[in-house]
Each structure stands twice: as structure tokens, then as C-alpha cells.
Symmetry: C2
Subunit: 366 residues, 2 copies
């Protein structure tokens, strides 16, 4: 596969009201992003008054939206009640019109994940060949690179076919954003021989092997939880429940260790002096594992690009989510996912891909 | 529930050949354990020649076994071929005779988990009321305590009833070893409202709530992966696939961060000097999160106590596994699990507890 040429003009639609902090974080992030990307354009979506400071910014359009999806709003509320929410209006900007053109090439929101996925699914619909959209993020690994992990919580019960879809979409993402055209894929499993995986995992391994044999996937085999951080494969595929637990467990451990380090270096006068001496080293370490650098999860499998920032992101972290969305859009991620899925599925006669009733994609009855 | 009196005389059966290192690790650990516990007795199981150095040790019996279950032996081999393995002979010591008395009160092995669980299940059978034995370990938390997590890989596909069993067994373990008679239990779930758990998890939450209402469980509610390290609850319950992924992910992240810290403190001359100054602080930090301190997972739900050491344990870590097994046996863990399960199930008329075909517990056909 030859990489498609870079899109020359990319506009991002930004839900400026989402997340824990809203415009106080999203606006400075947008300003920094515009300064760093002289060819990029932004559509800032939200309450007009809140976005007034950006009225004079270059390459910037303000799109008013009167409502805000709160972090604890249910999907029900986001879908049926708040039809003029900044989240919904922002997602709407990436929906193609009758001619296939969209106002924006990707949307970024720090709003709540469940609502973002549900509204995206409802407004954009899934790509041909995709039964379940998935959420993909990157985690740092020992090779000083990133491991892309999906799904992270969009799908609790997955079939083997869904895991194959995730593998293909993840490959398209890594190819687009990291420029690796043939990234390796690992299937997350457990190591004990007695109990090696459920029937679903075993069947998923068969499908992934079949896709590899037809030349449409670089399947490494089973991997375990620690392989995410070893960087054994470029991509780790799992169902959303397992992926979410792995992500949250890693976040919890990182937070505990960081608190312990802080406590140890403030325990007494000697420790505080040692902290002063070690400061440059500790800073370098901290920067290396700074989770803000990895902010920006991709919602894959929709007919439009949507990126999810962590709800608690600060301006630096939100800017990274903008960067990721921008890179993905410029590198034609949408078309890549579309093409890879169709190529892979057409090469696999055995794959049954029945559409399940997708509760969150149905028309709201108002 | 009043805690039962401490057992005055406890003997541990030790599989001295198991693990990556065998007697070179297990024997020094046993020696240190005997020195620290002047009332404890050990049965050292393994090849007579390898255990000869221990022949003159006090409170120590050598039990010969001619075979060794290797770390990569299949369950098949461990169960059917190696009938005189040190693992099997050691487990056999905790099996009660016709009068209900056993030669040892707990068994410790660093052998491979799948084989250990299968042989234990075959020789000891499950306790009344237990459908699936589980593996429980502890992880450190921010409260400078431990969170007990189960299952860690014995059961890939779990029903809601299995998760209830795990919750009750985990409660018995924490009550016995940590002296908390009414420990809190969290059900591992994911946070997104859209997608809050599978049907199994939802039903498990109902069962746990019912057990709590009848006064037989201290159910906190759902928890997420990060709550393991926050110490939100004393116990976190999940199926074996999820638990294994969480554990391995945490191990992988800890290993990566520890490598990064080492790299940063050796990056250049200044960093090396800083490392010297910071050494006492870093050592304290390292000791605080030393995973060897938490070594020793409990196989729960069997008619005998079996503890599993990490295969790569060094002598210090293996000694901790001996300590955990000794504490559990002295505090009557076996009877506690038995009593708690029967009390809880008898108070829950709605619980159906159908025996599933248990592949690894069947009689080997030789």
C-alpha cells in the first residue's frame, strides 16, 4: 500500500465546552495549536460568550452552540435532549454533505466518552464493513515508542469478528499517524497454558492468522498485559472491558508510584536536598512518561474522524489531542480505515459479519 | 464472626524443586523461614540429592520425590505422567486422611500455575459450595496497605455466581491474614456510563448486593482498574482473564518505569552523581514498592491450602510466600473459607450454583 498524499488543507472542529475545564483549557490549547500549525484551520464550537476571546483569531471560525453535554450526562440526555450541544454540533461538522464534502476533517472533544461515542455513531454512522466502532489510544513503551491499544471501552462483549475489525482499524491508524505501513498486531491473552483464552480469543486468533496469511495484517500472535509496555507489537487488540481495565490499572499504578516518589523526596531534610540535586534527572524522567503527551484517543470505524481528549486534560494535553487529530486527518486516516477493512474482509470469505442491533445508533424518538 | 484461635502447630509442605531456580532459591528461603519461626515445621519435597544440605536442619523432614514439573510442562504431563513430581507429592501432604488429619497444613510451590491448580484440584477437590477455585494475590496500594485481587487466571469465563464465590473467598482470606473481619469488596467494572459492564457483571453486582443485605459480605459497589492501587476496597473481584491482564499490565508498567529511572540516573556524569546523593531516598522508594514483599498467591476454594510463589522468585521472595502460607494456615483460612461460603449461600435462596464440567479436575485415565 502506498501512503496517500498529505491533505493540504485540514480544518478541525473543536468542542470547546467539553471536559472538566471547558474554554479555560480548550481556548489556550487552540491558540497554541494555531500558532504551531500555520496552515491549519479551526472551528470553535460552543457558547458565543465563552468563545468571544477567540473572535479575532486568524484561521478560526466560531460556531455557536447553546447547550453543553456535562461529564455526568447520560447518553440519553446527550442524544435526545441536548440537540444543540457543542459536542453534537462539533461532530456534525465532520459529517459529509450530499457531495461528500464536510466542513471539518476531524472533530476533537474532551466530553464524556459514552456520550461522544453515542452521538458520533448516531450522526456519522459506521463505515461499510464495520460492525462496532472502537476507541484506540497509545501508551508509552520501553522502546521509547508507543503501543496502540484498542478497544478501550466502547464494546464490552466482543466477538472474534469484532477483534479482527479492531486489528485492521488499529493497523490503519498506526500506518496513518506513525507512517509504519505494516505494523505488528498482538492479541491480548493470558499466559497460563491451562486456561489460554476463551473461545472468542481462540477464534479471533484464527481470524487474525487468516488475515495475515492473505497479506492483510501483520499478526504477531498472542501477547500479555506486560507486552503493552515492552512494545512487543505496535498494536494490542482486546475487547473494551479488558482494554479499559488495563488502561485504568496502568493509570492507577502510575499515579501511586508518582505519589510515592514525591513522598519519598519530601520525607525529611536530607530527602529534600537530594530532590534538589536530582531535580534535572527527575524532570527528564517525568517528561519521558508524561501521560499528557499521549492524550487523544481515536474513535475508529465511523464515517468521520472523532478524537477524544481526557476529560481532565490541561491546555498542553488538549493541544496534543488536537495534534493527533490533525495528523490523522492530514494522513487520510478515514480513507485508510475504509480501504483496509474492505480489502481485508474481501480476502476472507469465511468471515461472517452480521450487523447486531446497535442500541446507540438508532434514531432518537425525540 | 469471631476469629478462631490460632493453630499452635503448623507444618508447611514445600515443593523445593519448582520455579525457575529450584533448591538454590527454595532451600535458603526455607532456612531463613525456620530461623524466623521457631515453632514452624517444614516438609521439604524433592530429589533426595538436591535436598541433602537440609538433612540436619531442625523441625524439618525431607520427603523424596523423583520427578519435577518443569515450568513449560503441560497440565497433561503434570497430571498424568509425572505422578511422583515434587509438586504433586507436596500437594498430597495437605490432603486429609480418613480421620480428617493432614501431614501439612499448607503447601507452597513456585511451579507453573496451570499445573499447580490442576494437580491441586485433582488431588484435593473443591470445597462444598465452591464451583471454581480461584487465585488471589495482593497488590500494594496508596494507603500503604494491600488490595487483594481475585481471580488472577484460573477461570477465563466466569458466571455471576463464580464472582460471588470469589468475593466470599477473598473476604475469608483478608479476614484470616489481615485480621479485618468485615473487609470491603469491589466489583471490577468499567466507568463509561454507556457501557457499564456486561450482563454477567450486572448480575454479579445484584448477587453481591443480596449477600451484603443478608449481612454476609461488605459490598462497596463497582470499582475501576485504578481503584486497585488507590485501595478503595480491601478486595477487588474480577474474572480470571481480566485479573490476569490487570496484573501483567501492572507488572509491565512497573518494569518499564523502573528501567526508565535507572536509565535516567545513569545518563551522564551529573545524573550518576545525583543518583549517589539520592540513593537512600531511591532505596526507600524501592523497598516500598518491592513486589517481592507481596509474593505468594493463594489458591482458594480447595479442600487444602495451596500457595503459589512467582516462578522467578528469589530466596527473599520465596520466604514471603512461605510467610503468607504460614499465616493463612495458622489463622484457619481453610475453615474460614468453608464456613463463609456455606453461610453466604444458605442465606441466598436465589443463588443457583450448578456444577460445570471441570476439565482439569477429572480423574486422569493414566
Amino acid at each position: 500500500m502506498n501512503p496517500p498524499p498529505l491533505l493540504s488543507k485540514v480544518c478541525l472542529a473543536v468542542d470547546c465546552m467539553g471536559g472538566d475545564h471547558g474554554p479555560s483549557v480548550t481556548l489556550p490549547a487552540c491558540q497554541a495549536f494555531l500558532a504551531a500549525h500555520p496552515e491549519a484551520e479551526l472551528m470553535l464550537v460552543g457558547r458565543a460568550a465563552a468563545l468571544a476571546p477567540a473572535a479575532s483569531w486568524p484561521r478560526c471560525t466560531i460556531v455557536p452552540a447553546t447547550e453543553v453535554v456535562e461529564m455526568d450526562d447520560s447518553i440519553e440526555v446527550a442524544l435526545r435532549r441536548k440537540k444543540d450541544s457543542s459536542m453534537r454540533v462539533a461532530i456534525g461538522q465532520v459529517k459529509p454533505d450530499a457531495n461528500g464534502a464536510a466542513a471539518a476533517q476531524a472533530c476533537v472533544s474532551a466530553g464524556n466518552t459514552g456520550a461522544l461515542m453515542a452521538v458520533s455513531r448516531y450522526l456519522l454512522k459506521t463505515l461499510e464493513g464495520i460492525d462496532r466502532p472502537a476507541i484506540a489510544t497509545v501508551m508509552p513503551n520501553e522502546r521509547d515508542g508507543f503501543t496502540t491499544v484498542l478497544d478501550l471501552g466502547a464494546n464490552v462483549d466482543c466477538t472474534a469478528e469484532h477483534l479482527l475489525e479492531f486489528a485492521v482499524m488499529g493497523s490503519a491508524l498506526v500506518a496513518a499517524v506513525e507512517g509504519k505501513e505494516d505494523p505488528t498486531v498482538g492479541l491480548l491473552n493470558i499466559g497460563e497454558e491451562a486456561i489460554k483464552g476463551s473461545e472468542t480469543i481462540k477464534r479471533a486468533a484464527e481470524l487474525l492468522r487468516a488475515a495475515a496469511e492473505s497479506g492483510h495484517l501483520n499478526f504477531h500472535g498472542n501477547v500479555e498485559g506486560n507486552d503493552i509496555f515492552k512494545g512487543t507489537t505496535d498494536i494490542v487488540v482486546c475487547d473494551g472491558f479488558v482494554g479499559n481495565v488495563a488502561l485504568k490499572t496502568a493509570e492507577g499504578l502510575a499515579s501511586m508510584l508518582s505519589n510515592f516518589i514525591r513522598q519519598e523526596f519530601t520525607r525529611n531534610v536530607y530527602a529534600k536536598l537530594a530532590a534538589l540535586v536530582a531535580l534535572p534527572v527527575l524532570k527528564h524522567f517525568k517528561a519521558r512518561v508524561d501521560h499528557r503527551r499521549y492524550n487523544g484517543a481515536a474513535l475508529l470505524g465511523l464515517r468521520g474522524l472523532v478524537f477524544k481528549s481526557h476529560g481532565s486534560a490541561d491546555a498542553y494535553a488538549f493541544e496534543q489531542a488536537l495534534n493527533r487529530a490533525y495528523d490523522a486527518a492530514r494522513h487520510g486516516l478515514l480513507e485508510r480505515v475504509h480501504d483496509r477493512i474492505l480489502e481485508t474482509l474481501s480476502a476472507m470469505p469465511a468471515v461472517v459479519n452480521e450487523e447486531e442491533p446497535a442500541a446507540h445508533a438508532t434514531e432518537p424518538t425525540a
